[in-house]
């Protein structure tokens, strides 16, 4: 994180470059059931981030030696398309993508009743179509919707959001330029009902006080995300219900 141009991230009126307040999320749109072949899928637009997630499974594990006798394996592939970044990204997975794949699988597993599906795998495939900071939180958020869409029994959802520090100020949900020039980034994910933290990463520098503030702000963010998730599920549920009724009427 470079300090260069850092004075530019907050405007004189205290607003951020995109006119958001310190605790304001970018505009977010979620859609459930966008793909036909996958067992479950969802799409999210979070600011300029555009991400699609698909679930396959529970299904047979290949190679079989990876399967677990007492629960389902949860496997994730987080991938960015070459055109999702400013400079073209090579299609082969980068070290960053490998890490995020692992971190996302770890963060979403706690909400799945994996013990219902021993010897199977639940495959999570994430494709980032456009990125602008905060893709891991957006990916995790949309993944939990896709899991719901797949009809996999869940204990809760996972809602994710980052807080960070720009120009010395704690802010919510940093976009690409804020992420790049800011001083710290704290992406987290919670299970909204029990407020349990299932993902937490941090880089940059925080004092403990700053961290505390950022953590609380991020949790507030997660709660707002949860509301949008619920709304998306409700909408989908109503549509499904209506369609089911329509079919029954026919």
């Amino acid at each position: 994180m470079s300090n260069k141009k850092i004075t530019k991230l907050l405007k004189k009126n205290g607003l951020r470059l995109d006119n958001r307040k310190f605790d304001e999320l970018r505009s977010i749109k979620m859609e459930i059931g966008v793909l036909e072949k996958a067992n479950g899928s969802a799409y999210i637009e979070w600011g300029k981030n555009k991400i699609i997630a698909a679930i396959y499974g529970p299904r047979e594990v290949h190679p079989r030696r990876l399967s677990l006798t007492d629960k389902a394996l949860v496997r994730c592939r987080y991938h960015m398309t070459p055109f999702s970044t400013d400079e073209r990204k090579r299609p082969a997975p980068s070290r960053r993508e490998v890490e995020l794949s692992k971190v996302i699988a770890t963060a979403v597993e706690p909400i799945i009743f994996t013990e219902f599906y021993p010897r199977t795998v639940i495959d999570i495939f994430i494709e980032v179509l456009e990125s602008d900071g905060g893709t891991r939180c957006a990916a995790l958020t949309v993944t939990s919707l896709a899991l719901a869409d797949a009809g996999i029994p869940l204990k809760d959802l996972v809602a994710a959001c980052a807080a960070g520090k720009i120009d010395g100020k704690i802010v919510l949900d940093m976009n690409g330029i804020e992420d790049q020039l800011g001083e710290a980034d704290l992406p987290i994910a919670i299970t909204p009902r029990n407020k349990e933290i299932t993902l937490l990463q941090m880089d940059g520098t925080f004092t403990k006080e700053e961290f505390k503030k950022a953590l609380n702000l991020a949790i507030e963010g997660c709660e707002k995300i949860y509301d949008i998730q619920k709304e998306a599920l409700r909408k989908e549920y109503i549509i499904v219900k209506e369609e089911t009724e329509k079919i029954e009427e026919e």
Binding site: K37, K48, P82, F83, S84, D86, L129
Partner: protein
């Protein structure tokens, strides 16, 4: 181990074949009907151009990136076109993550040939400093949902994304140095190839085979047609054979369908691109 024709496929083959006798198809289409085509463009801000194409339930996205690089030694004054296809695991239970395999490579190369041989992009206009620096146009094609006929969807999304693509205005200094200005220009698109895949089953021809049809047709051929009806690329696929008459009939069909798609579906994008 797997059977090359599963039981389900055998049953489906029978049904598809039975219907074809009456010139009908499983999903109610006529033999010469495409599924519904929808094209959205320009949704990806980080891409120079982008297009999301739906062909029935088949969904593919193409993003264009334009970067600078060195030309090939045998074409020092020509920009470079690079086409890549990813059969993402999102799109089908049968696709695996990993580097592109045989299938994806064949698809990428056929789409690439359609664009290249039609001279869809005027690569001579993408030279900056001969032998040293040229623009590279990356065409990255991603399938999101695979419900058959990826070839046609890929080609359509590729040309749509190219028509949508813009690059920064630039000037080249005398010493060959590149300088970007303000504003954007369109990519130099000059032809609009459309690929049409035609399946053959029990002597009948169908266009735009669905996933189920693709699995059971004997013969399959993809033909790329340029704006003047010229044939730019062909690729016979699958092991089924064709007669000379089959091939000539397929070309007639392809020319007709390509024209329809170019005019009805791509028309607006082409007009926009020309205006710019």
């Amino acid at each position: 181990m797997s059977n090359s024709y599963g039981i389900m496929e055998s049953i489906k083959r029978k049904k598809i074949s039975e219907l074809l006798k009456y010139d009908k198809r499983l999903d109610g289409r006529g033999l010469m009907d495409f599924r519904k085509i929808k094209i959205e463009t320009g949704m990806i801000g980080t891409a120079a151009g982008s297009a999301l194409v739906s062909l029935g339930n088949t969904k593919v996205m193409t993003g264009i990136k334009v970067e600078t690089g060195t030309p090939f030694t045998d074409k020092p004054k020509s920009g470079v076109l690079t086409t890549n296809v990813e059969l993402t695991p999102l799109a089908s239970p049968n696709f695996e993550a990993g580097p592109p395999r045989e299938k994806a490579i064949e698809m990428a190369r056929v789409v690439d040939r359609g664009i290249r041989e039609a001279k869809a992009i005027d690569l001579s206009k993408l030279c900056i400093d001969p032998g040293k620096l040229v623009f590279i146009v990356y065409v990255d094609i991603y399938v999101l949902n695979h419900d058959g006929n990826l070839f046609d969807a890929f080609a359509l999304s590729a040309i749509s994304a190219l028509l949508n693509a813009k690059m920064k205005k630039y000037t080249v200094k005398k010493n060959g140095e590149l300088k970007y200005g303000k504003g954007y220009i369109k990519l130099p698109v000059q032809n609009y190839p459309v690929e049409i895949s035609i399946g053959k089953l029990d002597g009948k021809m169908i266009v735009d085979p669905s996933l189920e049809e693709e699995a059971v047709v004997d013969g399959l051929i993809t033909i790329a047609i340029g704006k003047k009806g010229e044939i730019c690329a062909m690729q016979k696929r699958k092991t089924g054979v064709f007669s000379v008459e089959d091939i000539l009939l397929a070309i007639t069909i392809a020319q007709k369908k390509a024209k329809e798609i170019r005019e009805n579906i791509l028309g607006e994008l082409i007009a926009k691109n020309k205006k710019a």
